[in-house]
Symmetry: C2
């Protein structure tokens, strides 16, 4: 089967492509991946073709679906911090780009599976302790509002039969390797990553603020799964909140200490940032994911396992983990 991945040069996009190419006996082989991003996607595999351009350009979006993909993974997005700082750019990429890609798919003879990477940032305002699948999202960020609109477009284009869509709401993905990004939740990975690399970092939110997270491995596996889920099991409801773990910054630091020692923990300074606290604190801290689990999506075993998983993937693991 042929697959299109947007945001292919990103952290999740490149992992997703690698996972798709691995293959599994219980699903069709992926023979060709078109990887689109604003920079060339880095995977060196003869089955991957990189395309460079902006998804907000309708001609570029149309060119991406010319091979007639069986599945589209639409991950390209302006992240929360940048969408808050530059409203127009967020709308162009997150709303108009998503619509351009859906429009391009609508012209295909066969409606492809369309996996849309949504987010818990759709939720906001006063939230119940446990957020159900049926809760009206009241996003408190432009990123969240744009993703709600994207979800609604995916649901409507699916109802009309233009695509066979599924919007999956990703938890905050941690621990991401590399450098901090412009997501307001970037610090969540930083709380673990920087101290383990011997770097000082700050925690910008109260230690008891709840976060809803999943590991990069689980996010990747669940994205792949969304591409192969038969449409009838969705029962007309195209939006799925993916499983995650409820943690607090404090509990993350406890796990950091258990894995990396007191020295690692001592590299984290508490330095509240009202902007980050307001927006990230508006996201859902615990979701009812019983439907996602019934649909076969999976869940991390716990925060300490996530930290250990990250340590095992570090090039310099021996110097920091114990």
């Amino acid at each position: 089967m042929r697959v299109l991945v947007t945001g292919a040069a990103g952290f999740l996009g490149s992992r997703l492509i690698a996972a798709l190419l691995e293959g599994r006996p219980d699903r069709p082989d992926v023979s060709q991946v078109l990887g689109a991003d604003v920079v060339a996607c880095p995977i060196g595999d003869s089955r991957v073709e990189a395309r460079t351009g902006s998804i907000a350009d309708p001609d570029f979006a149309a060119s991406l679906v010319e091979p007639g993909p069986d599945a589209v993974y639409h991950l390209a997005a302006i992240v929360s911090g940048e969408a808050e700082a530059d409203f127009d750019r967020g709308m162009q990429v997150n709303v108009d780009g998503t619509r351009a890609l859906l429009e391009a798919c609508r012209r295909l003879p066969q409606p492809p599976r369309f996996v849309f990477a949504s987010t818990i940032a759709v939720f906001g305002g006063p939230l119940p302790a446990m957020v159900g699948d049926d809760l009206w999202p009241r996003p408190q960020s432009s990123y969240g509002a744009e993703k709600v609109i994207g979800e609604m477009l995916v649901a409507e284009y699916s109802r009309r039969g233009f695509v066979d869509g599924i919007a999956v709401r990703l938890p905050t993905v941690a621990v991401r390797p590399g450098r901090p990004n412009a997501a307001l939740s970037s610090f969540v990975s930083g709380l673990i990553r920087e101290p383990l690399a011997g770097l000082e970092t700050t925690c910008p939110v109260p230690l008891d603020m709840r976060l809803w997270i999943c590991s990069p491995e689980m996010a990747t596996m669940n994205l792949v799964h969304a591409g192969f889920l038969p449409a009838p099991v969705l029962e007309g409801n195209r939006i799925v909140s993916l499983p995650g773990l409820t943690v607090t910054a404090g509990r993350m630091l406890d796990a950091l200490e258990r894995v990396g020692g007191l020295e690692a923990r001592s590299r984290v300074r508490c330095e509240p940032d009202p902007h980050v606290t307001r927006i990230v604190g508006s996201w859902a801290g615990a979701l009812d994911v019983s439907r996602a689990l019934r649909l076969g999506f999976q869940i991390d075993p716990g925060i300490e396992a996530i930290v250990r998983q990250f340590v095992n993937s570090m090039p310099s693991r021996q110097s920091t983990a114990r």
Copy 2:
């Protein structure tokens, strides 16, 4: 104060303009109304200026806000039947038109109150018997999906401070005078209007299907109210489900018989239409409107009062009512 009304030539738009011009001691006088629609708005009052064009044209949208309105009532829309038949046109007017108008308002030195006419058609899929304010809408029509996106845009543009918005979800408005329109709920008015005018009509839905309705007078009064409600009372939640009455087609026909006699009722033939039943039946039949009532929105006293109100407004009332 200066007011812009889009959809000004429509049934609700023209009533709204008349009500705004009436004035009331408890609110500022409306000194000027710009009435925009695809055809010239019919009110002959020196305070009303008609503008003709499509709201989907950004230049037209921008020209409408040049006088710097204090309040914008955005009623212009492609109705449910037409939006279902012509997807592109529905998206252009209901989504792009709303966004163009919000963008135009964003350029004003002072963010105007922006009243967006939304609808119970945002709801769909399996619904609880009583729909709360916090329920995630799963529209089963393009019209409903487009209105959800409009609501989300109004909420986000308000959160950013570009407008001071409020989206009000109108019940099905009945009894409308005149001729049937392209709304899938058009029959609801027809059930009362046609028999009282001596005309035969059909009921396309099961007699026990629930409908959520309000009178034209109440819809108009509540729209006016939305324009003058102070922003702080909304507590950051810019979407309000307006009060309505839960009726069934059967109960409407009972009221018809009480007001117009058995003869009037005998003019209604049951002739199920699966398309109308599926879509109108997907809308909410009963909503929790406690918040709307707290905010000062009002409710009709009952279905018989609505029918009598309509009869009293008919030019030929003496011949049909008893």
